[in-house]
C-alpha cells in the first residue's frame, strides 16, 4: 500500500526507540510544565508545573547520558535533581501551609498586600 521507504522510516525512525523519542517526551513535559505554571492560580498547581519541568530536565540528562558519550554524568545529575525537587517541595509545602494558616487560601492572587 505504501512505498518501501515509508516502512523503512516507520521501522527505523519511529518504532525503534532512540534519543529523539526521549527528547520529544521531554519537550512535551517541559511545555506542559510551563503551561501549568502560567495558567494555574493555585500555589500547588504551580509547584506541579515546576516538578514537570524538573522531570523533563531529568529525562534529558538520562537520555543524553545513555545515547551519547559522557559516562554516567547524566545519571548522577538526574539523581541530584530528584533530591533537589524533593527538598524544594518540602519547603514549598511548608510555606503554603503557613500561607493557608494566615489567609485561609492558597490562591496566589490573594497575596496582594505587598505592592507599591
Amino acid at each position: 500500500m505504501f512505498p518501501d521507504e515509508f516502512y523503512d522510516f516507520l521501522l527505523d525512525g519511529v518504532l525503534t526507540i532512540g534519543l529523539t523519542h526521549y527528547l520529544i517526551l521531554s519537550v512535551l513535559l517541559f511545555s506542559l510544565g510551563i503551561l501549568c505554571m502560567v495558567t494555574k492560580r493555585n500555589a500547588i498547581g504551580i509547584l506541579i508545573g515546576v516538578e514537570l519541568v524538573l522531570n523533563a530536565a531529568s529525562i534529558n540528562f538520562v537520555a543524553f547520558s545513555k545515547y551519547q558519550t559522557g559516562g554516567l554524568d547524566g545519571h548522577i545529575v538526574a539523581l541530584f535533581i530528584i533530591l533537589l525537587a524533593a527538598a524544594e517541595a518540602a519547603i514549598a509545602i511548608a510555606i503554603f501551609m503557613n500561607f493557608y494558616n494566615t489567609l485561609r487560601t492558597i490562591d496566589v492572587d490573594r497575596g496582594d498586600e505587598l505592592r507599591l
Binding site: 521531554s26 517541559f30 510544565g33 505554571m37 500555589a43 504551580i46 509547584l47 508545573g49 515546576v50 519541568v53 524538573l54 523533563a56 530536565a57 531529568s58 534529558n60 540528562f61 537520555a63 543524553f64 551519547q68 558519550t69 559522557g70 559516562g71 554516567l72 554524568d73 547524566g74 548522577i76 545529575v77 541530584f80 535533581i81 533537589l84 527538598a87 524544594e88 519547603i91 514549598a92 511548608a94 510555606i95 503554603f96 503557613n98 500561607f99 494558616n101 494566615t102 489567609l103 496566589v108 497575596g111 498586600e113 505587598l114 507599591l116
Partner: protein, 550 residues
C-alpha cells in the same frame, strides 16, 4: 575510586569551616538547649573563622582544584583561587555582621520578640546554610555543582523570608519568593540539560571551548577568533541556564521577587539578601563569563554579540527601572530594595562589557573584573549601614515608613549623620567610597567601545536621577521635623554604623589606592581557571567512555 588528597582538603578550608559551623550550632542546641546567645555566638565565631581562613589563604594563591573530575575532560568540581576566596571572605564577614544585627535586635521591644528568642537556632542554621550555598556558587565551574549551589542558597532563603510565622506580609513574601525561585531554577536546570546534551560534558570550561570551536571561522591578525553567529539551540540553552544567576542578582525581567521579599522579610534577612545573594550571583556570572572570554583570545571579532547586547540591555533596564520605581516608595525597606536593584544594574553593566574584549592571551584580567570586586566591597558597607540605620529606627519606633525618619537629626544625631553619609555614598558623591567604586566601574565601561560608552551615559543619567530619592530621605531627616520624641538607640549599633561610615570615608580618601590594588589582586587570575583542561574534548570523552566500560 577517587580519594581526596590532603592538599585538596586544606584548599577547601573555608567550606569546611562553614559546614562545621552548621554542625556546631546544632550540637550547641543539643547541649545548651534553645539558647539564642549560644547559637549566635557559634555562628559569629564560625563566620570569623571562615573569613580568617580566606584572608590567610589568599596571599599568593594560584588556581587550585579539589574534588572529583567533573565530567568528561573536565576539571575537578571545586576551585579555590583568589576570586572564590574573596567572595567567601565577603559573605562570611557579612554573616558575622548579620548575626550581630540579630543580637542587637533581640533587645528591642518587638511583637515577635518571644518567637525570635525561641527560633534563634533555626535562624542561624538556615543563615549559615545559605552562606555555604553561596560559597559553593562562587567556587565551581561545573553544571551539577552550580545547580546544587543555587538550590542550596535558595532553599534556606525561602524559609528565612517567611521566618515571621503568621505575619501576613512575611508569609506573602516567602510565597512569592519560593514560586519565582522554583520556576527560575527549574528553567535553569532544563537549560543545563540542553547544554550537557550538546557538548557532552558538565564542565563549563569544556563547554565554553566547544562553543568557541563550533563557532570559529577564522582568526584575526591579533590572534583572536572570528566567530559566526550562534545557533538558536545554543542561544536558548545558554539564556535558560543564565536565568538562575540573573534571578539571584535580580536583573530586570527576574526582579519581581526583590521588593516584595525585602518588604515582607524581617530586616536582618532583607539586609542579608540585599548583599549576599547579589554578590554570589555576580560571582557565578563572572566565573562563567571569564571562562568564555578566556577561550576567545585578544581582539576577537563578532564575539557572541547577542550575549553582550542582551546583558547590556538587561543591565541598562535593571538600573533605570530600579531607580524609577524607587522614586515613589514610602516604605524604606521597599525603597532600598529598588535601590539595590539599581546597583545590581550598575554591576551588570560591567559584566556586559567583558565578553567582546577578552584579553586572555596577554594574561591580564579585564579591568571590569576588578571594578566589580571593588564595587561589591563598597556596596556591602553602604548597604549594611543603610539597613542598619533603618533597623535601629524600626526597633525604637516600630515603623518602617519614611515618616519615621522625620527630624531624625534631632532625635538621634549619630544615626542621622551616618545615614546621610551612607546615602551620599550610594549616590556616588566624591569624598566617599561610593564615588571610587563608581569611578572605576565607569572607567572600565568607557574603555570598551561604543556599547560601553552608551552604558556610561545610562549610568550617569541614572546616578543623577537617583540623587533625588536619596536626597528625599536626607531631607526628611534634616529639615522636616514634626516633633516626634527622641529615640533610644543601642550604643553598639551606633558604634557599628560609625565604623561603617568611617570605612567608607577612608576608602573614598586615604585607602583609595589600597582598595584598587586589593581588588586587582583578587581578580587577577580568573582566566587561569581554563588552563587546566587542555585535553581535547573527543579524546577526553573516549577516555571517559573506556573508564565507564571497565
Amino acid at each position: 575510586m577517587w580519594m581526596p588528597t590532603g592538599d585538596e582538603l586544606s584548599m577547601l578550608g573555608p567550606h569546611w569551616a562553614l559546614v562545621g559551623t552548621i554542625v556546631a550550632i546544632l550540637i550547641g542546641a543539643i547541649i545548651a538547649g534553645r539558647n539564642w546567645r549560644v547559637a549566635g555566638t557559634i555562628a559569629m565565631v564560625g563566620g570569623l573563622l571562615t573569613a580568617g581562613l580566606c584572608a590567610l589563604g589568599w596571599k599568593g594563591l594560584g588556581t587550585n582544584w579539589a574534588g572529583m573530575a567533573g565530567g568528561a575532560g573536565g576539571v575537578p568540581m571545586l576551585v579555590a583561587d583568589q576570586f572564590s576566596y574573596f567572595f567567601i571572605f565577603l559573605i562570611s564577614i557579612f554573616l558575622v555582621l548579620i548575626a550581630g544585627m540579630w543580637f542587637l535586635g533581640q533587645d528591642a521591644r518587638l511583637p515577635e520578640k518571644l518567637a525570635r528568642k525561641r527560633d534563634a537556632t533555626e535562624f542561624y542554621v538556615l543563615l549559615v546554610g545559605s552562606a555555604f550555598g553561596m560559597a559553593l556558587m562562587v567556587s565551581t565551574t561545573n553544571l551539577l555543582m552550580i545547580i546544587i549551589a543555587v538550590e542550596m542558597t535558595s532553599l534556606p532563603s525561602y524559609a528565612l523570608a517567611g521566618f515571621r510565622k503568621k505575619h501576613r506580609l512575611a508569609t506573602e513574601a516567602s510565597l512569592k519568593y519560593i514560586l519565582f525561585g522554583a520556576v527560575t531554577s527549574a528553567i535553569m536546570i532544563y537549560g543545563a540539560s540542553l547544554l550537557y546534551g550538546q557538548y557532552h560534558s558538565l564542565d563549563i570550561v569544556v563547554i565554553g571551548r566547544a562553543i568557541v570551536e563550533q563557532l570559529t571561522i577564522g582568526t584575526t591578525e591579533a590572534g583572536g577568533a572570528i566567530l559566526n553567529a550562534p545557533t538558536v539551540l545554543m542561544s536558548v540553552s545558554i539564556v535558560a541556564f543564565m536565568i538562575g544567576a540573573m534571578f539571584k542578582v535580580s536583573a530586570v525581567p527576574f526582579h519581581f521577587w526583590c521588593p516584595d521579599v525585602f518588604e515582607g522579610a524581617s530586616i536582618e534577612i532583607t539586609t542579608w539578601l540585599s548583599v549576599a545573594s547579589k554578590a554570589a550571583g555576580l560571582g557565578l556570572l563572572l566565573r562563567v563569563v571569564a571562562v568564555l572570554a578566556a577561550q576567545l583570545g585578544d581582539g576577537a571579532e563578532q564575539t557572541l554579540n547577542w550575549v553582550r547586547l542582551a546583558v547590556a540591555v538587561m543591565a541598562a533596564l535593571t538600573c533605570t527601572l530600579g531607580n524609577f520605581s524607587a522614586y515613589r516608595q514610602t516604605n524604606m525597606k521597599r525603597l532600598f530594595a529598588f535601590s539595590s536593584i539599581a546597583h545590581a544594574g550598575y554591576m551588570l553593566m560591567a559584566v556586559a562589557i567583558i565578553l567582546p574584549t577578552g584579553g586572555a592571551a596577554s594574561g591580564a584580567a579585564h579591568p571590569a573584573f576588578s571594578a566589580i570586586v571593588l564595587y561589591i566591597t563598597v556596596y556591602l558597607l553602604m548597604n549594611l549601614g543603610v539597613f542598619g540605620c533603618i533597623a535601629m529606627v524600626y526597633w525604637a519606633t516600630g515603623r518602617e515608613d519614611i515618616g519615621a525618619f522625620n527630624g531624625l537629626i534631632r532625635r538621634s544625631p549619630v544615626i542621622a549623620v551616618m545615614m546621610v553619609a551612607f546615602l551620599f555614598s550610594l549616590v556616588g558623591m566624591p569624598p566617599l567610597g561610593g564615588f571610587i567604586a563608581k569611578f572605576w566601574l565607569l572607567a572600565a565601561l568607557f574603555d570598551s567601545g561604543p556599547i560601553g560608552i552608551l552604558l556610561v551615559i545610562v549610568a550617569v543619567a541614572n546616578t543623577l536621577f537617583s540623587l533625588y530619592y536619596y536626597a528625599r530621605v536626607a531631607f526628611a531627616m534634616c529639615f522636616s521635623d514634626d516633633g516626634q520624641p527622641a529615640i533610644r538607640v543601642p550604643f553598639l549599633g551606633q558604634a557599628a554604623a560609625t565604623v561603617c561610615a568611617l570605612a567608607i570615608l577612608l576608602i573614598g580618601t586615604l585607602w583609595a589606592g589600597n582598595i584598587k590594588t586589593f581588588s586587582d589582586e583578587r581578580s587577577s587570575n580568573l582566566y587561569a581557571v581554563t588552563k587546566q583542561a587542555e585535553q581535547p574534548v573527543e579524546e577526553a570523552v573516549k577516555t571517559a567512555e573506556l573508564d565507564f566500560r571497565e
